[in-house]
């Protein structure tokens, strides 16, 4: 990792108001809007006695990861390739991988920062309890972040231009949001659907975060699904990524 590149990429991320909004602010904003609906603050039996606003904190956390993974990261990486920035790096002593890893570090860090913001606002504004099993929560969160970044790298590898990356990103975005439980929390889904959804990276992440939030160690089946996706997507990105 080259620190000069990392610092430059952080600075450049801050200059993208769209990325800052969607990755860092939007998930918490959505939580605030939903939490402001009175019925979202009443305990709900289909959520095992939790209030919907409690259930939406882990979902907001995942939205941040999905935004950076399938929207901002592939746009950035594909743009760097399309406009010859990676090529320019290749004729310096610093490898272009420095730029890729810096970009992934920036995106991952901002998404994790966004997760912290959602947890803090949930706690302060809506009295949502902090995760009962913090170590398990952190582990699930880091694995989900790794899967999201690997997914972004695959989208970028498969997209020759930023337009294609945008199209693939949007096509993947809604199914991923569904699996994370944005429309119906995964635990409230019918059994058959929930079983399918927990085989996807964000479905598994949603369940793992729920369990850790409730104070249990997240199920190894969910963590295993996340780890497997991360490995497969990373291998795919490494196999298909082109420098120019």
């Amino acid at each position: 990792m080259n620190t000069a590149v990392l610092r430059a990429e952080f600075r450049l991320f801050r200059r993208e108001p769209g990325a800052v909004f969607w990755v860092f602010l939007f998930p918490t904003l959505l939580l605030v809007i939903l939490g402001s609906i009175p019925s979202f603050r009443d305990a709900d039996d289909s959520l095992g006695g939790l209030r919907p606003v409690d259930a939406y904190v882990p979902i907001a956390v995942l939205i941040a990861l999905i935004m950076s993974g399938v929207q901002t990261l592939p746009q950035a990486l594909t743009g760097y390739r399309e406009r010859g920035i990676l090529r320019r790096m290749r004729v310096t002593p610093v490898r272009p991988t420095a730029l890729l890893s810096a970009q992934m570090t920036v995106q991952g860090t901002v998404a994790l920062g966004s997760a912290l913001l959602a947890l803090a606002v949930g706690r302060l504004a809506f009295d949502v309890r902090l995760p009962g099993q913090p170590a398990g929560y952190l582990l699930a969160l880091l694995l989900a972040a790794a899967a999201a970044l690997a997914l972004g790298a695959v989208v970028s590898a498969l997209s020759r231009t930023t337009r294609i990356a945008g199209a693939i990103g949007s096509a993947v975005f809604f199914p991923m949001m569904f699996c994370a439980g944005v429309w119906i929390p995964v635990r409230a889904m019918p059994d058959a659907l929930a079983r399918g959804v927990t085989l996807t990276p964000f479905g598994a992440a949603a369940r793992a975060l729920d369990q850790a939030a409730a104070g249990h160690w997240p199920g190894w089946d969910h963590l295993g699904v996340l780890a497997l996706w991360t490995v497969l997507l990373t291998a795919g990105a490494a196999r298909w990524f082109r420098w120019e």
């Binding site: 080259n2 000069a4 590149v5 430059a8 600075r11 450049l12 200059r15 993208e16 760097y80 406009r83 010859g84 920035i85 090529r87 320019r88 290749r90 004729v91 310096t92 002593p93 610093v94 490898r95």
Partner: protein
Amino acid sequence: MSVIEVTDLRKVYGGRAVVDGVSFAVEEGEIFGVLGPNGAGKTTTVECVEGLRVPDAGRVRVTGLDPVADHERVARVLGAQLQESELQAKLTVREALELYAAFYPDPLDWRPLAERLGLTDRLTTRFGKLSGGQKQRLSIALALIGNPRIVVLDELTTGLDPRARRDTWQLIEDVRAGGVTVLLVTHFMEEAQRLCDRIAVIDKGRVAALDTPAGLIRRSAGATVISFTPSAPLDDRELDALPALASVEHKDGRVTLSGTDETVNAVITLLARHRVTAHQLRVTDATLDDAFLDLTEEKEKAI
């Protein structure tokens, strides 16, 4: 000592040899030009020197190192300005200079370099907001910032206005005076003639000629051009019989001949014999332009 050696380089794309047996050696401290028409394989050749492409056959050595296998060591001594490569749109000129300086163990101070390239009043401008010429100047600055021993410049003055172009040429001469070897890709004759010590003319993936600019001009068939408006018509047969004649052209009563010094003497004798006055007589040396067309056309005729 040769700092760049290219031997029998071949690069094939889709069954077509874009570079087909190119060889040349660049000596330390010289400005070496790679000249050729569009699509001749110039850029592919220098991309192999930069380590951006892996040759299909042949050998490339930069300061004795393989630019692909020893990429990092080569990149430390070789600065490159690429065609059509950009930077992050929201990176400012100053940030770009500082960032690229951080890539090298012993970089130049970016302030005088920016001054030299007329970028001082653009330091806080973002790359995306620069004009084409300013982008080009920044790209030249980034090629030099690592304090390289060799600098490869691909279409150096594209997009520059005539003044900026001349300033850039002066800069390249100063860079060379500082001991840096320059490999210059161009299709701009005036640039090659003014800057280069030696030129490899590349055409259809091969080296068509390799010589000094003066040598290339001497080699071309019509190295001297004689033009005049005769006071009375001249016999075509007599003109055609002139020694060492390369071509004859008539246009609006004006005769243009190309040949050698021998042709010049014979024309003067011919005119005197017929008592014809040559109005507006001009004798000029051919330019690199003429030599280039000559060298690259010959091949086309042969095919």
